[in-house]
Symmetry: none
Subunit: 217 residues, 2 copies
Amino acid sequence: MPVRDRLTERQNQVFEFIRSHARDAGRPPTIVEIGRHLGLRSSNGVHKLLVALEGKGYIERVRHEARGITVLDDDAPMFAFDDGPPSVFMPRAVTSAVAKRPLARGRQPVLVEPRVMPRGVALDDCLAVVVGDDGMNGDGIRKNDLVVVEEADWSDVPNGTAVVVLFDDRVVVRRFEAANGRLHFRASDKTYRAESFDPKDEACYVVGPVRALMRRL
Amino acid sequence: MPVRDRLTERQNQVFEFIRSHARDAGRPPTIVEIGRHLGLRSSNGVHKLLVALEGKGYIERVRHEARGITVLDDDAPMFAFDDGPPSVFMPRAVTSAVAKRPLARGRQPVLVEPRVMPRGVALDDCLAVVVGDDGMNGDGIRKNDLVVVEEADWSDVPNGTAVVVLFDDRVVVRRFEAANGRLHFRASDKTYRAESFDPKDEACYVVGPVRALMRRL
DNA sequence: CGGCCTGGTAAAAATGTTTTCACCCTTGAA
DNA sequence: TTCAAGGGTGAAAACATTTTTACCAGGCCG
Protein backbone atom coordinates (compact mmCIF):
# COMPACT_ATOMS: atom_id res chain seq x y z
CA MET A 1 0.00 0.00 0.00
CA PRO A 2 2.74 2.47 0.74
CA VAL A 3 3.53 2.99 -2.93
CA ARG A 4 7.11 3.79 -2.25
CA ASP A 5 8.78 6.23 -4.54
CA ARG A 6 11.21 4.85 -7.04
CA LEU A 7 14.85 4.90 -6.13
CA THR A 8 17.62 6.42 -8.18
CA GLU A 9 20.41 4.11 -9.21
CA ARG A 10 22.69 5.37 -6.50
CA GLN A 11 20.03 5.09 -3.83
CA ASN A 12 19.31 1.56 -4.87
CA GLN A 13 22.97 0.62 -4.57
CA VAL A 14 22.95 1.90 -1.03
CA PHE A 15 19.74 0.12 -0.14
CA GLU A 16 20.92 -3.20 -1.49
CA PHE A 17 24.22 -2.91 0.30
CA ILE A 18 22.52 -2.22 3.60
CA ARG A 19 20.27 -5.19 3.12
CA SER A 20 23.01 -7.62 2.31
CA HIS A 21 25.32 -6.33 4.99
CA ALA A 22 22.63 -6.61 7.63
CA ARG A 23 21.92 -10.17 6.61
CA ASP A 24 25.51 -11.29 6.31
CA ALA A 25 27.06 -9.48 9.24
CA GLY A 26 24.10 -9.63 11.57
CA ARG A 27 24.07 -5.87 11.93
CA PRO A 28 23.55 -2.93 9.62
CA PRO A 29 26.59 -1.11 8.24
CA THR A 30 27.83 2.23 9.52
CA ILE A 31 27.71 5.26 7.29
CA VAL A 32 31.43 5.03 6.75
CA GLU A 33 31.19 1.39 5.76
CA ILE A 34 28.58 2.25 3.19
CA GLY A 35 30.74 5.05 1.86
CA ARG A 36 33.73 2.77 1.57
CA HIS A 37 31.67 0.29 -0.37
CA LEU A 38 30.54 2.98 -2.80
CA GLY A 39 33.97 4.51 -3.06
CA LEU A 40 32.99 7.76 -1.38
CA ARG A 41 35.39 9.83 0.63
CA SER A 42 32.92 11.84 2.62
CA SER A 43 30.43 10.45 5.06
CA ASN A 44 28.13 13.28 4.21
CA GLY A 45 27.54 11.88 0.76
CA VAL A 46 26.17 8.73 2.32
CA HIS A 47 24.25 10.70 4.86
CA LYS A 48 22.31 12.47 2.16
CA LEU A 49 21.53 9.25 0.39
CA LEU A 50 20.22 7.81 3.64
CA VAL A 51 18.01 10.81 4.21
CA ALA A 52 16.56 10.25 0.78
CA LEU A 53 16.02 6.54 1.44
CA GLU A 54 14.29 7.27 4.70
CA GLY A 55 12.10 9.89 3.11
CA LYS A 56 10.97 7.38 0.53
CA GLY A 57 10.15 4.83 3.20
CA TYR A 58 12.79 2.21 2.46
CA ILE A 59 14.64 2.44 5.71
CA GLU A 60 14.14 3.84 9.16
CA ARG A 61 16.80 5.46 11.27
CA VAL A 62 17.34 6.11 14.94
CA ARG A 63 19.09 9.41 15.41
CA HIS A 64 22.61 9.38 16.74
CA GLU A 65 22.61 5.68 17.19
CA ALA A 66 25.48 3.65 15.83
CA ARG A 67 24.26 1.48 12.96
CA GLY A 68 20.81 2.86 13.58
CA ILE A 69 19.45 1.78 10.24
CA THR A 70 16.50 -0.55 9.91
CA VAL A 71 15.57 -2.02 6.58
CA LEU A 72 11.85 -1.76 6.00
CA ASP A 73 11.08 -4.88 4.11
CA ASP A 74 7.63 -4.83 2.76
CA ASP A 75 7.63 -8.15 1.04
CA ALA A 76 7.16 -11.50 2.74
CA PRO A 77 3.50 -12.52 2.85
CA MET A 78 4.76 -15.05 5.39
CA PHE A 79 2.04 -17.62 4.85
CA ALA A 80 -1.29 -18.09 3.28
CA PHE A 81 -4.28 -16.98 5.25
CA ASP A 82 -7.30 -15.31 3.74
CA ASP A 83 -5.48 -12.13 3.61
CA GLY A 84 -2.57 -12.62 5.82
CA PRO A 85 -2.68 -13.77 9.41
CA PRO A 86 -4.40 -11.48 11.87
CA SER A 87 -1.69 -9.13 12.96
CA VAL A 88 -0.95 -5.64 14.12
CA PHE A 89 2.18 -3.64 13.63
CA MET A 90 4.82 -2.82 16.15
CA PRO A 91 7.00 0.23 15.57
CA ARG A 92 10.64 -0.55 16.11
CA ALA A 93 11.32 2.52 18.14
CA VAL A 94 8.52 4.24 19.91
CA THR A 95 8.94 7.97 20.09
CA SER A 96 6.23 10.55 19.99
CA ALA A 97 7.12 11.19 16.38
CA VAL A 98 6.70 7.53 15.51
CA ALA A 99 3.55 7.20 17.54
CA LYS A 100 1.92 10.00 15.69
CA ARG A 101 2.42 8.22 12.40
CA PRO A 102 2.85 4.70 13.64
CA LEU A 103 1.63 2.90 10.57
CA ALA A 104 3.70 5.01 8.26
CA ARG A 105 6.97 3.20 8.72
CA GLY A 106 9.18 0.99 10.80
CA ARG A 107 6.86 -1.81 11.52
CA GLN A 108 6.97 -5.49 11.97
CA PRO A 109 3.94 -7.70 12.27
CA VAL A 110 2.80 -9.16 15.55
CA LEU A 111 0.37 -12.05 15.42
CA VAL A 112 -2.79 -11.61 17.41
CA GLU A 113 -5.15 -14.39 18.32
CA PRO A 114 -8.59 -12.94 17.42
CA ARG A 115 -10.08 -14.47 20.55
CA VAL A 116 -8.14 -12.10 22.76
CA MET A 117 -9.38 -9.00 20.97
CA PRO A 118 -12.55 -7.33 22.21
CA ARG A 119 -15.43 -7.45 19.78
CA GLY A 120 -15.72 -4.46 17.53
CA VAL A 121 -12.10 -3.42 17.59
CA ALA A 122 -10.43 -3.39 14.18
CA LEU A 123 -6.89 -4.69 14.05
CA ASP A 124 -6.17 -2.04 11.46
CA ASP A 125 -6.59 0.61 14.11
CA CYS A 126 -4.19 -1.09 16.47
CA LEU A 127 -0.52 -1.33 17.06
CA ALA A 128 1.68 -3.24 19.46
CA VAL A 129 4.11 -1.81 21.98
CA VAL A 130 6.17 -3.09 24.86
CA VAL A 131 5.27 -1.78 28.29
CA GLY A 132 8.09 0.16 29.88
CA ASP A 133 7.44 0.04 33.61
CA ASP A 134 5.75 -1.77 36.44
CA GLY A 135 3.31 0.97 37.38
CA MET A 136 0.27 -1.15 36.55
CA ASN A 137 1.30 -4.33 38.31
CA GLY A 138 -1.78 -4.07 40.45
CA ASP A 139 -3.85 -4.37 37.31
CA GLY A 140 -1.90 -7.35 36.10
CA ILE A 141 0.07 -5.43 33.50
CA ARG A 142 3.83 -5.70 33.85
CA LYS A 143 7.03 -4.33 32.43
CA ASN A 144 7.95 -5.95 29.10
CA ASP A 145 4.41 -7.09 28.36
CA LEU A 146 3.48 -6.74 24.73
CA VAL A 147 0.22 -4.84 24.56
CA VAL A 148 -2.11 -4.18 21.68
CA VAL A 149 -3.34 -0.61 21.73
CA GLU A 150 -6.14 0.85 19.68
CA GLU A 151 -5.12 4.22 18.33
CA ALA A 152 -7.56 6.87 19.40
CA ASP A 153 -7.66 10.52 20.27
CA TRP A 154 -7.76 11.09 24.00
CA SER A 155 -11.10 12.85 23.64
CA ASP A 156 -12.65 9.55 22.54
CA VAL A 157 -11.34 7.63 25.53
CA PRO A 158 -13.74 7.14 28.45
CA ASN A 159 -12.50 8.06 31.89
CA GLY A 160 -11.08 5.17 33.85
CA THR A 161 -9.77 3.30 30.81
CA ALA A 162 -6.29 1.81 30.78
CA VAL A 163 -4.36 3.58 28.05
CA VAL A 164 -0.91 3.49 26.55
CA VAL A 165 0.70 6.86 27.03
CA LEU A 166 4.08 8.26 26.10
CA PHE A 167 5.80 10.33 28.72
CA ASP A 168 8.77 11.87 26.94
CA ASP A 169 9.10 8.80 24.77
CA ARG A 170 8.71 6.42 27.67
CA VAL A 171 5.97 3.89 26.95
CA VAL A 172 3.74 3.16 29.89
CA VAL A 173 0.21 2.07 30.70
CA ARG A 174 -1.90 4.20 33.01
CA ARG A 175 -5.49 4.69 33.96
CA PHE A 176 -6.80 7.73 32.11
CA GLU A 177 -9.00 10.53 33.28
CA ALA A 178 -9.90 13.86 31.66
CA ALA A 179 -11.11 16.47 34.09
CA ASN A 180 -10.94 20.24 34.52
CA GLY A 181 -9.36 20.64 31.11
CA ARG A 182 -6.40 18.46 32.05
CA LEU A 183 -5.38 14.87 31.47
CA HIS A 184 -4.70 12.75 34.55
CA PHE A 185 -2.84 9.46 34.62
CA ARG A 186 -2.89 7.10 37.58
CA ALA A 187 -0.75 4.04 38.10
CA SER A 188 -2.23 1.20 40.10
CA ASP A 189 0.93 1.02 42.14
CA LYS A 190 0.87 3.60 44.91
CA THR A 191 4.62 4.11 44.72
CA TYR A 192 4.21 5.65 41.27
CA ARG A 193 2.91 9.15 41.52
CA ALA A 194 -0.04 10.26 39.46
CA GLU A 195 0.75 12.70 36.66
CA SER A 196 -1.29 15.45 35.17
CA PHE A 197 -0.79 17.32 31.89
CA ASP A 198 -2.20 20.03 29.79
CA PRO A 199 -3.71 18.47 26.64
CA LYS A 200 -1.34 20.50 24.52
CA ASP A 201 1.74 19.44 26.42
CA GLU A 202 4.19 17.73 24.08
CA ALA A 203 5.72 15.76 26.95
CA CYS A 204 2.71 13.49 26.98
CA TYR A 205 0.97 11.66 24.16
CA VAL A 206 -2.01 9.35 24.57
CA VAL A 207 -1.85 6.53 22.04
CA GLY A 208 -5.17 4.94 23.01
CA PRO A 209 -6.85 2.25 25.07
CA VAL A 210 -5.19 -1.08 25.77
CA ARG A 211 -7.12 -3.84 24.04
CA ALA A 212 -5.08 -6.96 24.59
CA LEU A 213 -1.93 -8.18 26.23
CA MET A 214 0.65 -10.88 25.66
CA ARG A 215 3.42 -12.00 27.94
CA ARG A 216 6.32 -14.37 27.76
CA LEU A 217 6.85 -16.36 30.94
CA MET B 1 30.64 -29.97 18.48
CA PRO B 2 31.02 -26.89 20.53
CA VAL B 3 30.37 -28.49 23.89
CA ARG B 4 30.13 -25.02 25.20
CA ASP B 5 30.73 -24.43 28.85
CA ARG B 6 27.70 -23.85 30.94
CA LEU B 7 26.72 -20.29 31.59
CA THR B 8 26.09 -18.75 34.96
CA GLU B 9 22.68 -17.26 35.52
CA ARG B 10 23.92 -13.75 34.90
CA GLN B 11 25.77 -14.73 31.76
CA ASN B 12 22.68 -16.42 30.46
CA GLN B 13 20.62 -13.33 31.04
CA VAL B 14 23.08 -11.36 28.97
CA PHE B 15 23.15 -13.94 26.22
CA GLU B 16 19.39 -14.17 25.95
CA PHE B 17 19.03 -10.43 25.91
CA ILE B 18 21.55 -10.08 23.11
CA ARG B 19 19.74 -12.72 21.13
CA SER B 20 16.32 -11.23 21.51
CA HIS B 21 17.54 -7.69 20.94
CA ALA B 22 19.33 -8.71 17.78
CA ARG B 23 16.21 -10.41 16.52
CA ASP B 24 13.74 -7.72 17.48
CA ALA B 25 15.76 -4.62 16.71
CA GLY B 26 17.67 -5.97 13.75
CA ARG B 27 20.99 -5.20 15.36
CA PRO B 28 22.84 -6.31 18.46
CA PRO B 29 22.66 -4.13 21.58
CA THR B 30 25.46 -1.89 22.74
CA ILE B 31 27.21 -2.59 26.01
CA VAL B 32 25.36 0.25 27.63
CA GLU B 33 22.02 -1.05 26.40
CA ILE B 34 22.78 -4.42 27.92
CA GLY B 35 23.77 -2.77 31.16
CA ARG B 36 20.57 -0.78 31.25
CA HIS B 37 18.55 -3.93 30.75
CA LEU B 38 20.32 -5.64 33.63
CA GLY B 39 20.17 -2.60 35.83
CA LEU B 40 23.92 -2.08 35.89
CA ARG B 41 25.47 1.33 36.27
CA SER B 42 28.90 0.59 34.93
CA SER B 43 29.61 -0.53 31.42
CA ASN B 44 32.55 -2.44 32.74
CA GLY B 45 30.28 -4.91 34.47
CA VAL B 46 28.81 -5.81 31.11
CA HIS B 47 32.20 -5.85 29.49
CA LYS B 48 33.40 -8.56 31.81
CA LEU B 49 30.31 -10.63 31.21
CA LEU B 50 30.88 -10.35 27.47
CA VAL B 51 34.47 -11.45 27.81
CA ALA B 52 33.24 -14.50 29.67
CA LEU B 53 30.59 -15.21 27.03
CA GLU B 54 33.15 -14.93 24.27
CA GLY B 55 35.57 -17.16 26.13
CA LYS B 56 32.90 -19.83 26.40
CA GLY B 57 32.12 -19.60 22.72
CA TYR B 58 28.63 -18.17 22.83
CA ILE B 59 29.37 -14.94 21.06
CA GLU B 60 32.05 -13.41 18.91
CA ARG B 61 33.19 -9.84 19.05
CA VAL B 62 34.90 -7.36 16.77
CA ARG B 63 37.15 -5.11 18.77
CA HIS B 64 36.26 -1.45 18.98
CA GLU B 65 33.33 -1.83 16.70
CA ALA B 66 29.96 -0.45 17.76
CA ARG B 67 27.53 -3.30 18.39
CA GLY B 68 30.29 -5.65 17.38
CA ILE B 69 28.66 -8.69 18.89
CA THR B 70 27.76 -11.75 16.87
CA VAL B 71 25.61 -14.43 18.40
CA LEU B 72 27.05 -17.83 17.64
CA ASP B 73 23.81 -19.64 17.22
CA ASP B 74 23.27 -22.97 15.67
CA ASP B 75 19.53 -22.72 15.24
CA ALA B 76 17.63 -19.52 14.57
CA PRO B 77 15.90 -19.43 11.22
CA MET B 78 14.84 -16.03 12.56
CA PHE B 79 11.40 -16.03 10.97
CA ALA B 80 9.90 -18.24 8.37
CA PHE B 81 6.68 -20.08 8.84
CA ASP B 82 6.67 -22.67 6.13
CA ASP B 83 3.93 -24.76 7.53
CA GLY B 84 1.09 -22.63 8.62
CA PRO B 85 0.80 -19.94 11.20
CA PRO B 86 2.26 -20.70 14.61
CA SER B 87 -0.52 -22.05 16.75
CA VAL B 88 -1.31 -24.32 19.65
CA PHE B 89 -4.47 -26.24 20.39
CA MET B 90 -7.09 -25.48 22.95
CA PRO B 91 -9.23 -28.32 24.21
CA ARG B 92 -12.93 -27.50 24.27
CA ALA B 93 -13.45 -28.82 27.73
CA VAL B 94 -10.57 -29.29 30.06
CA THR B 95 -10.92 -32.29 32.30
CA SER B 96 -8.17 -34.49 33.54
CA ALA B 97 -9.14 -37.00 30.91
CA VAL B 98 -8.84 -34.43 28.16
CA ALA B 99 -5.67 -33.03 29.59
CA LYS B 100 -4.03 -36.39 29.51
CA ARG B 101 -4.77 -36.74 25.83
CA PRO B 102 -5.34 -33.15 24.88
CA LEU B 103 -4.78 -33.60 21.20
CA ALA B 104 -7.18 -36.47 20.98
CA ARG B 105 -10.34 -34.51 20.38
CA GLY B 106 -12.23 -31.25 20.55
CA ARG B 107 -9.48 -28.86 19.77
CA GLN B 108 -9.28 -25.57 18.02
CA PRO B 109 -6.20 -23.64 17.08
CA VAL B 110 -5.02 -20.58 18.97
CA LEU B 111 -2.59 -18.27 17.24
CA VAL B 112 0.58 -17.53 19.15
CA GLU B 113 2.95 -14.69 18.36
CA PRO B 114 6.39 -16.37 18.40
CA ARG B 115 7.90 -13.37 20.12
CA VAL B 116 6.00 -14.13 23.29
CA MET B 117 7.21 -17.70 23.47
CA PRO B 118 10.41 -18.42 25.36
CA ARG B 119 13.20 -19.65 23.14
CA GLY B 120 13.53 -23.38 23.01
CA VAL B 121 9.92 -24.25 23.68
CA ALA B 122 8.23 -26.17 20.88
CA LEU B 123 4.69 -25.15 20.08
CA ASP B 124 3.96 -28.78 19.38
CA ASP B 125 4.40 -29.52 23.06
CA CYS B 126 2.02 -26.79 24.11
CA LEU B 127 -1.66 -26.25 24.52
CA ALA B 128 -3.85 -23.32 25.48
CA VAL B 129 -6.22 -23.11 28.41
CA VAL B 130 -8.26 -20.46 30.16
CA VAL B 131 -7.31 -19.66 33.73
CA GLY B 132 -10.10 -20.42 36.20
CA ASP B 133 -9.40 -18.27 39.23
CA ASP B 134 -7.64 -15.22 40.58
CA GLY B 135 -5.19 -17.01 42.83
CA MET B 136 -2.15 -15.70 40.93
CA ASN B 137 -3.17 -12.08 40.67
CA GLY B 138 -0.04 -11.14 42.55
CA ASP B 139 1.98 -12.61 39.70
CA GLY B 140 -0.01 -10.76 37.10
CA ILE B 141 -2.03 -13.80 36.00
CA ARG B 142 -5.79 -13.35 36.21
CA LYS B 143 -8.99 -15.28 35.82
CA ASN B 144 -9.98 -15.72 32.16
CA ASP B 145 -6.46 -15.19 30.88
CA LEU B 146 -5.59 -17.48 28.01
CA VAL B 147 -2.33 -19.18 28.87
CA VAL B 148 -0.03 -21.33 26.79
CA VAL B 149 1.22 -24.28 28.78
CA GLU B 150 3.99 -26.66 27.83
CA GLU B 151 2.96 -30.20 28.56
CA ALA B 152 5.43 -31.84 30.87
CA ASP B 153 5.56 -34.38 33.60
CA TRP B 154 5.72 -32.83 37.05
CA SER B 155 9.04 -34.51 37.68
CA ASP B 156 10.58 -32.37 34.93
CA VAL B 157 9.31 -29.13 36.38
CA PRO B 158 11.73 -27.12 38.51
CA ASN B 159 10.51 -25.99 41.91
CA GLY B 160 9.12 -22.48 41.97
CA THR B 161 7.77 -22.59 38.41
CA ALA B 162 4.29 -21.34 37.62
CA VAL B 163 2.33 -24.31 36.34
CA VAL B 164 -1.15 -25.04 35.08
CA VAL B 165 -2.74 -27.58 37.35
CA LEU B 166 -6.13 -29.25 37.40
CA PHE B 167 -7.83 -29.52 40.77
CA ASP B 168 -10.82 -31.74 40.21
CA ASP B 169 -11.20 -30.34 36.72
CA ARG B 170 -10.78 -26.77 37.79
CA VAL B 171 -8.01 -25.13 35.73
CA VAL B 172 -5.75 -22.92 37.78
CA VAL B 173 -2.22 -21.60 37.80
CA ARG B 174 -0.06 -22.11 40.87
CA ARG B 175 3.55 -22.01 41.87
CA PHE B 176 4.82 -25.57 42.00
CA GLU B 177 7.05 -27.30 44.49
CA ALA B 178 7.94 -30.95 44.94
CA ALA B 179 9.17 -31.80 48.40
CA ASN B 180 9.00 -34.70 50.84
CA GLY B 181 7.40 -36.91 48.24
CA ARG B 182 4.44 -34.57 47.87
CA LEU B 183 3.40 -31.90 45.42
CA HIS B 184 2.76 -28.43 46.82
CA PHE B 185 0.90 -25.62 45.11
CA ARG B 186 1.02 -22.05 46.30
CA ALA B 187 -1.12 -19.19 45.08
CA SER B 188 0.39 -15.73 45.15
CA ASP B 189 -2.72 -14.41 46.81
CA LYS B 190 -2.62 -15.02 50.55
CA THR B 191 -6.38 -15.53 50.73
CA TYR B 192 -6.01 -18.72 48.70
CA ARG B 193 -4.71 -21.55 50.80
CA ALA B 194 -1.79 -23.61 49.62
CA GLU B 195 -2.64 -27.17 48.63
CA SER B 196 -0.63 -30.32 48.87
CA PHE B 197 -1.18 -33.67 47.17
CA ASP B 198 0.21 -37.11 46.87
CA PRO B 199 1.67 -37.53 43.37
CA LYS B 200 -0.73 -40.40 42.76
CA ASP B 201 -3.79 -38.47 43.79
CA GLU B 202 -6.28 -38.30 40.92
CA ALA B 203 -7.74 -35.05 42.24
CA CYS B 204 -4.73 -33.17 40.99
CA TYR B 205 -3.04 -33.18 37.60
CA VAL B 206 -0.06 -31.05 36.64
CA VAL B 207 -0.25 -30.07 32.98
CA GLY B 208 3.07 -28.24 32.87
CA PRO B 209 4.79 -24.86 33.10
CA VAL B 210 3.11 -21.70 31.87
CA ARG B 211 5.00 -20.34 28.88
CA ALA B 212 2.95 -17.42 27.64
CA LEU B 213 -0.16 -15.49 28.39
CA MET B 214 -2.77 -13.53 26.46
CA ARG B 215 -5.51 -11.33 27.82
CA ARG B 216 -8.43 -9.42 26.41
CA LEU B 217 -8.93 -6.03 28.01
C1' DC C 1 18.89 31.66 -17.71
C1' DG C 2 17.73 30.41 -12.95
C1' DG C 3 16.10 27.27 -9.68
C1' DC C 4 15.99 22.84 -7.82
C1' DC C 5 17.35 18.14 -7.06
C1' DT C 6 20.92 14.73 -6.60
C1' DG C 7 25.38 13.59 -5.25
C1' DG C 8 30.06 14.99 -3.87
C1' DT C 9 34.39 16.77 -0.97
C1' DA C 10 36.24 18.42 3.40
C1' DA C 11 36.59 19.25 8.05
C1' DA C 12 34.92 19.98 12.58
C1' DA C 13 31.60 19.27 16.18
C1' DA C 14 28.77 16.39 18.82
C1' DT C 15 27.63 11.98 20.35
C1' DG C 16 28.00 7.10 21.10
C1' DT C 17 30.63 3.09 22.34
C1' DT C 18 34.20 0.33 23.81
C1' DT C 19 38.41 -0.25 26.70
C1' DT C 20 41.12 0.34 30.54
C1' DC C 21 42.49 1.38 35.23
C1' DA C 22 41.78 1.13 40.11
C1' DC C 23 39.12 -0.63 43.67
C1' DC C 24 35.45 -3.35 46.17
C1' DC C 25 32.48 -7.38 47.58
C1' DT C 26 30.75 -12.22 47.98
C1' DT C 27 31.13 -17.17 47.56
C1' DG C 28 33.00 -21.53 47.44
C1' DA C 29 36.93 -24.45 47.23
C1' DA C 30 41.88 -25.45 48.75
C1' DT D 1 42.26 -18.43 56.06
C1' DT D 2 43.53 -17.41 51.81
C1' DC D 3 42.67 -17.34 47.01
C1' DA D 4 40.41 -17.32 42.61
C1' DA D 5 36.29 -16.46 39.99
C1' DG D 6 32.29 -13.95 39.11
C1' DG D 7 30.17 -9.51 39.40
C1' DG D 8 30.12 -4.54 40.42
C1' DT D 9 31.07 0.78 40.76
C1' DG D 10 33.14 4.94 38.80
C1' DA D 11 35.72 7.63 35.92
C1' DA D 12 38.74 8.56 32.22
C1' DA D 13 40.82 7.52 27.88
C1' DA D 14 40.57 5.98 23.27
C1' DC D 15 37.96 5.25 19.42
C1' DA D 16 33.94 4.97 16.29
C1' DT D 17 30.00 7.03 14.31
C1' DT D 18 26.69 10.39 13.19
C1' DT D 19 25.56 15.30 12.32
C1' DT D 20 26.42 19.77 10.78
C1' DT D 21 28.25 23.42 8.11
C1' DA D 22 30.21 25.28 3.85
C1' DC D 23 30.98 24.89 -0.79
C1' DC D 24 30.93 22.75 -5.52
C1' DA D 25 29.12 20.63 -10.06
C1' DG D 26 25.98 18.57 -13.45
C1' DG D 27 21.31 17.60 -15.22
C1' DC D 28 16.73 18.85 -15.98
C1' DC D 29 12.87 21.84 -16.57
C1' DG D 30 9.96 25.92 -17.17
